[in-house]
Symmetry: C2
Subunit: 338 residues, 2 copies
Amino acid sequence: MLSERRLEVLRAIVQDYVGTEEPVGSKALTERHKLGVSPATVRNDMAVLEDEGFIAQPHTSAGRIPTDKGYRLFVDKLAGVKPLSSPERRAIQNFLDGAVDLDDVVGRTVRLLAQLTRQVAVVQYPSLTRSTVRHVELLALAPARLMLVLITDTGRVEQRMIDAPAPFGETSLADLRARLNSRIVGRRFADVPQLVQDLPDSFEQEDRGVVSTVLATLLETLVEETEERLMIGGTANITRFGHDFPLTIRPVLEALEEHVVLLKLLGEAKDPGMTVRIGHENAHEGLNSTSVVAVGYGSGDEAVAKLGVVGPTRMDYPGTMGAVRAVARYVGQILAES
Amino acid sequence: MLSERRLEVLRAIVQDYVGTEEPVGSKALTERHKLGVSPATVRNDMAVLEDEGFIAQPHTSAGRIPTDKGYRLFVDKLAGVKPLSSPERRAIQNFLDGAVDLDDVVGRTVRLLAQLTRQVAVVQYPSLTRSTVRHVELLALAPARLMLVLITDTGRVEQRMIDAPAPFGETSLADLRARLNSRIVGRRFADVPQLVQDLPDSFEQEDRGVVSTVLATLLETLVEETEERLMIGGTANITRFGHDFPLTIRPVLEALEEHVVLLKLLGEAKDPGMTVRIGHENAHEGLNSTSVVAVGYGSGDEAVAKLGVVGPTRMDYPGTMGAVRAVARYVGQILAES
DNA sequence: TGTTGGCACTCCCCGTGAGCGAGTGCCAAG
DNA sequence: CTTGGCACTCGCTCACGGGGAGTGCCAACA
């Protein structure tokens, strides 16, 4: 185990490097931090930290920079979560309060997060699987052409066209609509399949085909839309990620375009609290020189989706984590209110 | 007026520069193109072209590169629109045919366009103002809480919550729903306001407040959603824009984030055909070193929205224009079918 | 055993200068 | 108007050489 002071040295190195973006040497460290020891001692400590793999030098006779492992130790043991200042809190609240619908909430959140952290923000739309049904609507656009509209408690609306195998009377339609709603409104998506299982049997023979088709489409919508959507913002901030440009930036932009990858990334964050993935801890290769800070948010006590930021491994972890957590809380509140 | 050969020289310069990304000199030009004259002659022509402002040299004693004005002449007079190869056409069709809903169509289009042009693609969602109403649905979520769902002929769905000033019975609701639909289904959004103007009068006194509120929300939706949405793709391609990195790329990314700016940009493209804005012709400063190729698309004979790409001024204009036009056509077809 | 100052050493970084070469402008001849 | 010739410009590359920040090691000291 590392001594108290060595940890302190590591913390100092991380802080300085994050600030200056330049390898930090022993002398500069003792000058900027009150470690109470001489540069020579710090050098010894650095040698140990390097042996253990927490820091590295880009070249012989250069200062040290933290490794992924070093950052990991930093966030696990050395860094707290820096709470936001109260003006910041107020700004968040004001900014989010004006939202009019779900798209707007997500849009504002992503902009806010990008602005606060000066990094790339990613916000997942509230997931359908954990949400409940607020209403199902069935419309006849033509005798054998129906539209299914599904409204969730998080304000999301999904619609699907249905080509019915046979014409379907207005009364049967109203009947189906009513029965469907009475069964599944207020229920979780995951529970819907078994709740509607026996519904076709209660209809006239001639209508069963249509009913089955409608139900099939409904269930399909539930499954399909579990492929969640997300919104990204602050892409311009990648220019801050590093100086070694085209090389670093390209794969990151590509990764950001693949929403599937990002969703997986967010999804992996199983931790009920905040999850921080540093550099190579990210499964996706393009993000090997970035860190992802993610946290769940939700309208109630349960998380319905995730949000987070993607930034350089060399980032201000306490500040970023503070911002991410705070934004998630406020979004949760907003969703609960609406 | 410039002689035939001088135009030919300009064309050759543009083509070579687009290919190599390096200033092109007189000797190289005569070698790669059959101009039938000597380098010295070409040098004279170049001097003229430079005087006229069509080309410039980065430094004394370097080759020439086209200016914005040079590109402008090139696209106006010298370049055709390069039709796509038939495998490409087939690929487009296949790729777009699988789309299941509007989001999917737009999403596929944007990816397709980005892939074909290797540039940043921008696709505007079909505008509401020009589309027609397919259906309006009114649901009572609670006695005094309604939801309005608006479905357009382009497959777009908008929903709004309404807090009614008074409870509203199910029969009244059904009545309003029916009357509303019979009046505005199939009509253009722009015509809706006057079509519903006198609707409250035909209701019982006690229901008029609610009806007015509903109508107000409906009209508001029409107006508000004229702020159109758009989707962007292929952002990673900005890394191809130039070598002078952080400087160029940052403002472009910022501009791409401001959808309002992009919408304005697309909107300015009044031309019924294709519009090409080159470098400083773009009003937005961040896009001064990029070109925008945009064209309208629509389900019928009329354009309902725009799509296009943003790329370096140094782009393959004929190829890009060909791809943009072809994609717009196919998207139009897809929309018309659905 | 841990800490400290001293010291030689290693390299990165940066400015300088030379040589190269692509490209130009001009001129005189065809 | 076109062409070949020619001197000139200037960006690019590379080698050379301090300067400096930082290191590792060692011997001395608590």
